[in-house]
């Protein structure tokens, strides 16, 4: 009896593995393989074509203690992440709550706000470069109506990163969609009960809505944090491939790409990618550790 059950279980497990085999092969070949290779090569002077000599920790030492642009690029990236992640999260929640109200023309507004998330890539960046133009751009024109003398946006090193963050805020529609889906799932009875107890709108939002959508907030924060550290394209396009005034748009991945494909210092670039991996890994671990304190799963028993 016992043995048969075991076999059945094992067989089922095997079948499962067979089903996910394509993924396993793909993962080992195209993700785990290169990942390991880059770890090994980060301890060499690998340049893709002609050399790969072991140099110990030299790449890492140089990065942390000698490289003048490593800290610049890391600072730029941290600045961007520190502002863009909270702002886009709050922006997306705010929008989704607004668009969850019962007002006429709701579908129209939902479409309008979601539209930017559909558009992406170089076209949008070029469009924003025009919008942010200091003298002829729409943004400064509108600011002018309110008597504000708009900044030089992409030409002023103080404003280049805020420019990018502003552009990101315009595209919060993707996150908004997630929040809207989760808002729809919040049980109406909770609100009814609260109303009967005399809770205000704000109290309802603060003590019902927010806790109920924390799993999605958590997901959004983790993924956009990881994505934020990998910012590259925006800076590359919007600085015309130069890193922006005073290297203010020289983000981590951008600098890494320069090292890898411009001067073919691949070992060095791989060391950079591992440092970034460690940073993001630590931050994500902290996130996961903190999660139980504020993330609320429905039906979960709280101690």
């Amino acid at each position: 009896m016992k043995r048969k059950k075991f076999n059945y279980k094992r067989q089922e497990g095997l079948v499962g593995y067979v089903f996910i085999l394509p993924w396993i092969i793909g993962f080992l070949l195209f993700t785990a393989g290169p990942l390991l290779f880059s770890l090994v090569a980060s301890f060499t002077n690998y340049n893709i074509t002609s050399q790969m000599d072991f140099v110990g920790f030299r790449n890492y030492e140089k990065l942390l203690f000698d490289d003048q642009l490593f800290w610049t690029s890391l600072w730029n990236t941290l600045y961007y992440v520190a502002f863009s992640v909270p702002l886009t999260t709050i922006g997306a929640i705010f929008l989704s709550v607004l668009l969850n109200q019962d007002v006429p023309g709701l579908r129209f507004f939902r479409t309008i706000y979601y539209l930017p998330a559909v558009l992406s890539g170089v076209g949008v960046y070029l469009l924003w470069m025009q919008l942010l133009d200091p003298s002829t751009g729409l943004v400064n024109l509108v600011l002018g109506w309110f008597g504000i003398d708009g900044p030089n946006w992409l030409f002023d090193p103080e404003w280049t990163k805020p420019s990018l963050i502003l552009m990101k805020l315009w595209g919060v529609g993707g996150g908004m969609l997630l929040y809207m889906a989760s808002l729809q799932g919040v049980s109406k009875s909770l609100y009814e009960a609260a109303q009967i107890d005399g809770a205000s709108k704000w109290q309802q939002f603060r003590y019902i809505t927010l806790p109920m959508i924390t799993p999605v907030i958590f997901f959004d924060v983790v993924t956009s944090l990881i994505g934020g550290f990998q910012i590259f394209q925006e800076a590359y396009v919007m600085s015309n491939g130069t890193g922006g005034p005073v290297n203010s748009l020289l983000f981590y991945n951008y600098y890494m790409w320069n090292k890898a494909f411009k001067v073919f210092d691949m070992g060095y670039a791989m060391a950079m990618s591992w440092i970034l991996f460690i940073i993001v890994f630590i931050l994500t671990m902290i996130n996961l550790k903190l999660a139980p304190r504020w993330v609320h799963y429905e039906g979960e028993a709280k101690r």
Binding site: N45, N47, I48, T49, S50, K62, D66, D67, Q68, L69, V122, L126, Q130, D133, P134, S135, T136, N152, F155, D156, P157, V237, N240, G241, T242, G243, P245, V246, N247, L250, Y255, N258, K259, F261, K262, V263, F264
Partner: protein, 449 residues
């Protein structure tokens, strides 16, 4: 100077990607011709050696020209078939690198001349000296271009096309303010003097700007013009914090202060938008750009009465040094048919093909004889010839700034310092001193590798 180059390349890259998108959008027409070509090449290939030739020339204008050159070569003999593959600008060199690493590269690739020596050093491009010993074609090209392809004395790529920077000026505006339209400025002082005369102000706004040195080119071109050499010598000597560069930087700063941040930004954005270049409309009297900028004048402002000249020199006798770049044909390391590839490269850089390219694309070519001939080509209208001739003459003033092997990415350290000066956040003295130290450190680090 990488900065400038990148800027230029970057614009082209955007153009190409947009074109690639258009090609897809325009339906299958583009695809089918491409496929037919390939099929034809495959059929022809029976018993012949196929040479895979990668370029980023996929535009409506360039593609037919390069394909005609390929076709001529294929017809001229019956042993080799060249297959032209268009790879978009954004991908071509990373794909090439991957193909080399995988051991299955194309046989001929068009690449950036500024990184040819670097790729030679890294064994990405093949050492061509064995072919050059048999037939030495080095005398075909401008010596400055040839020099740029050398790593430790051996060539790793054969120059194909090039460019330079010249001064365009509005003759009508010159006449209006009493300047001789046949006498463009010859020195920086004259340039400033003429510009002041050409400035036209209405209240607080400029109706016309005389000149601003950082439209069309970057600071590095003027520093090269002033000093006559790159910031880092091929041997790795850093020459940033020099008296000459300091003077140049101060000169640039004077221009900036003369017009002020807002005027400069607003005119620059008009130039960048490529919709209404102020030079076309007479709102900018003098402008530095490449000879191919002429084709834009021809297309968008055919009635503009303009002249072209060499860049003014810093002071009398310092030299009208200009700056250029270009592309080379390389054989990637590991190509399976290098001999045949070489045969094709010879054809590609020979007078006939080069002249055809020059005339059809209105582009500067590397082959001296072809360039001279193109300037006199009956296929070019007179005005085209005048500008082209100026470009050809200017080649003797033109220097290239190939990436110095000791510090190929030094501009990422220099650019921010210069930015700071122009933004008024650092004194020129301090900035040059800091940049000198930073680049010296980079050279040191690279040595220890």
């Amino acid at each position: 100077m990488k900065n400038m180059e990148e800027n230029e390349l970057f614009k082209k890259r955007l153009l190409f990607s947009l074109m690639a998108v258009l090609l897809v959008l325009s339906g299958c027409a583009g695809f089918q011709t491409g496929k037919e070509n390939e099929v034809a090449a495959e059929a022809d290939a029976e018993g012949k050696v196929v040479v895979d030739f990668w370029t980023f020339w996929g535009s409506e204008i360039r593609r037919p020209v390069i394909e005609k050159i390929v076709e001529d070569f294929n017809k001229s003999q019956d042993e080799i078939v060249v297959k032209h593959t268009f790879v978009p600008w954004g991908d071509i060199w990373t794909k090439e690198l991957a193909a080399i690493a995988a051991g299955d590269p194309p046989d001929v690739v068009i690449n950036d001349i500024n990184a040819t020596a670097l790729r030679g050093q890294k064994k990405q491009a093949m050492n061509l000296s064995e072919f050059l010993e048999k037939d030495d074609i080095s005398a075909r090209f401008y010596p400055e271009l040839w020099e740029a392809t050398l790593y430790e004395g051996d060539s790793y790529g054969i120059p194909f096309n090039t460019d330079t920077r010249i001064l365009y000026y509005n003759k009508d505006a010159f006449e209006e303010v009493g300047l001789n339209p046949e006498q463009p400025p010859k020195t920086w002082d004259e340039l400033k003097e003429y510009a002041a005369k050409l400035d036209k102000k209405n209240g607080d706004t400029y109706e016309r700007l005389g000149f601003y040195p950082l439209f069309g080119v970057n600071y590095d071109v003027w520093m090269l013009n002033g000093s006559g050499h790159n910031f880092v010598s091929p041997e790795g000597e850093v020459q940033i914090d020099t008296e000459t560069n300091l003077e140049t930087l101060n000169w640039l700063l004077e221009w900036k202060n003369h017009y002020g941040e807002n005027v400069v930004n607003s005119v620059k954005s008009q130039i960048d938008s490529q919709q209404a270049n102020p030079f076309f409309t007479g709102k900018l009297a003098m402008f530095v750009n490449t000879p191919t900028f002429y084709t834009q004048i021809r297309d968008y402002a055919p009635d503009l009465n303009f002249g072209v000249a060499m860049l003014p020199e810093k002071e009398e006798g310092s030299g009208h040094t200009s700056w250029g770049g270009g592309f080379v044909a390389e054989i990637p390391e590991g190509s399976s048919h290098p001999e045949e590839a070489w045969e094709f490269i010879k054809h590609l850089t020979d007078k006939e093909a080069q002249e055809y390219w020059a005339v059809k694309n209105y582009d500067n070519v590397a082959n001296t004889e072809a360039a001279e001939a193109a300037a006199k080509s009956p296929d070019m209208p007179e005005k085209d010839q005048v500008v082209y001739q100026t470009a050809v003459d200017n080649m003797q003033n033109t220097l290239l700034t190939p990436f110095p092997l000791a510090a190929p990415d030094f501009p990422t350290l220099l650019n921010p310092e210069i930015d700071n000066v122009l933004l008024g956040k650092k004194t020129p003295e301090q900035a040059l001193k800091d940049a000198q130290a930073a680049v010296e450190q980079l050279v040191e680090e690279n040595k220890s590798k």
